[in-house]
Structures are given as structure tokens and as C-alpha cells.
Symmetry: C2
Subunit: 158 residues, 2 copies
DNA sequence: ATAATTGCAAAGTCTTTGCAGTTTG
DNA sequence: CAAACTGCAAAGACTTTGCAATTAT
């Protein structure tokens, strides 16, 4: 894998804020004994640069392959697992079919349209009252970030 | 498939309330142009009789095979799809791994423990306020029944 | 009779795993 | 250098599909 091509790719696709974020994630990874490889930079970069930040493993593979044609699905799963363990990526299962991954830096909830499959974001506090009620009434500790909200988006309701 | 053995099995496993419920489901199925087969009775009966009413397809296969050893996984998927279309069964994806199915007669919400995998029931109204807020603020029509709530049960929080 | 359902086998989708070679710290 | 990571191939888990034989209405 050519170093220059990777470096170029990361340069090209990364705006300043995202670059700072990428640096923070890599630091966390290194601190945990992980290695910072060109491939991992590309994976994180794909997630930082994606339009909606909610990508399937296949989406990531496709994005990374634009720069690194030999990039393999098994690597994406291993990398995303690692990043999920570190807490910098969240994995959610929005239904049958592939899981979606997103960076966890900006807290938000997920609205999943079961009509068209779209995933939108909701304010981070929508489930706060529910969490409180469940905790007191049933002892269940709700994890709002792991709870995608299912329903129909405005377009699919009509 | 022996008629007598099936009839016996249904008799044996079905209490009066469940029997009434089974009858209602079968009537709905017939009304929709479906056929009432011994196999389908056993599938519904397995769901009526299960301890927590939250079964994976494999659970149903296992239960039905006690009475009908030739029962096939493909049949369970086709049957559960049909019943889900009819609205008498709900399918929820609680994470990676198999979907769980349950009869939809008694409305309730699901608490999924991401620690031990247990699925508990919650009061049907826990998400009502969230639904109202999302509808007015974002136009998103929440479907509470399709929204399993993730977190940790009391035992796994300790 | 005829349309629906079933068993079976095969394939499809998504994900994980084992291993040998390569790269990072 | 040692430990971590990668590509690759193979397998694993869950679900769907095509088809000929059977069954319900």
C-alpha cells in the first residue's frame, strides 16, 4: 500500500474539524495498544466524510476501495469492532439486514423509517423521561443511544 | 402428517383462553384466503404456549418438531411472515442475531438487556409522550410496538 | 379443481474466523 | 523484535427462494 497515496487521500477528504476528530480517535486507539494503520485512517475518514454518518459495513468498504482497491470486508468488521469497543463508534441494528455504524462524538438518537429505510437524527434528550421512568419503576437502565426509534417518516406517512 | 396426532397435540397444549385466541387467528387467516393447516396450528400453538411469548424462528422449529419431526425451518419463516402480514404476530429485531416473534394480541413494549439478551415487557404507554413530541416536532410517526428499548436489566447493572 | 402450502435442497446475505505474510511501535 | 494488523479463503448464522408433491377449500 503506497504511503503517499494514502496520505493524499486523507488530506483530500478531511476538513480541519474532521482532521482534529480523526486525531483524537487515533490517539485513543494508540493509547489502548492499537496500531494506527493507513487502512484504519481510511475507515475513520470514510465515516467522517460520509453525508449522514450512518454507514453499513458495505458502505465503508465501497468508500475505502476508492483509495485502496484491495481493501477487504473482513478488515472493516474487525476495525469497526475495535472502534466500537473503544467507544468512538456506535453500532446499531436498525432491522433485518446489515447493521449501521456511526461516530459517537455528537450525541443523537436515531429515527428509522420502516417504510423507506432512511435513518434520521433526533434530539439527544427524547428518551430522557422514558429512561427515568423505567429506572424507577422497573430497575431497567435504558441506553438511549442503543435504542433506534422505529416508525414512518413524513414522506412515508402520506 | 397424521391428523390424529396433530389434533391430540393441539388439544394437549392449549388451554381454553389460548384456544379461543387460536380460533380468532385462524379465522383471520381464513378470511384472508389462507389455508388452515395442521402445521400452522402447531406454529401458533407453540407461540401461545411459550413461557415468555418471545420466540426466535429456531425456538418455534424446536417446539413444533416435538410433535412433527419433519417440520422445516423454511416453513416457519413463511408462516411467520404470513402471520406478521396479517398483523397477528409482531417481528422485532433485538440486535445482531435472529429476530424474535410474538403474538400481538396483548399490547406491550420490549426491554432488551444488551448484557444477557433477556427480553422483558414494559407497560404499553412508556413511549406515548415520545411519540407525541416526535410527531409535532419532526413529523415522524413513531411506532412504539416496533421499537425495542435497549439497555441493561437490573441483574446486569450490578 | 385450483390455489395455497409444504418439504427439501440450494442459494443469498451478512458476519466471523484461521492462517500466513506484512506492518507498526 | 514482538505484537498487531491485513488480505484472503473458508465457514458460520440466519433467512429466502425455486420446485415438485401434497393438501385445504
Amino acid at each position: 500500500m503506497s504511503r503517499n497515496r494514502i496520505a493524499d487521500a486523507v488530506e483530500r477528504a478531511t476538513d480541519p474539524a474532521a482532521a482534529a476528530h480523526l486525531a483524537a480517535i487515533l490517539e485513543r486507539l494508540r493509547h489502548d495498544g492499537g496500531r494506527v494503520t493507513a487502512t484504519r485512517r481510511l475507515v475513520i475518514d470514510a465515516m467522517l466524510g460520509s453525508h449522514d454518518h450512518h454507514l453499513t459495513a458495505a458502505d465503508v468498504v465501497e468508500a475505502v476501495r476508492r483509495d485502496e482497491p484491495d481493501f477487504h470486508p473482513s478488515t472493516v468488521y474487525r476495525t469497526l469492532d475495535r472502534l466500537t469497543e473503544l467507544g468512538v463508534v456506535d453500532r446499531i441494528q436498525i432491522g433485518p439486514g446489515p447493521a449501521v455504524y456511526h461516530l459517537s462524538h455528537r450525541p443523537h438518537r436515531h429515527l428509522v423509517c420502516d417504510g423507506c429505510g432512511a435513518v434520521r437524527e433526533a434530539p439527544p434528550d427524547v428518551l430522557d423521561a422514558v429512561a427515568t421512568r423505567l429506572a424507577t419503576e422497573t430497575g431497567f437502565a435504558l441506553n438511549p443511544g442503543a435504542t433506534p426509534l422505529h416508525g414512518l417518516c413524513e414522506a412515508c406517512t402520506i
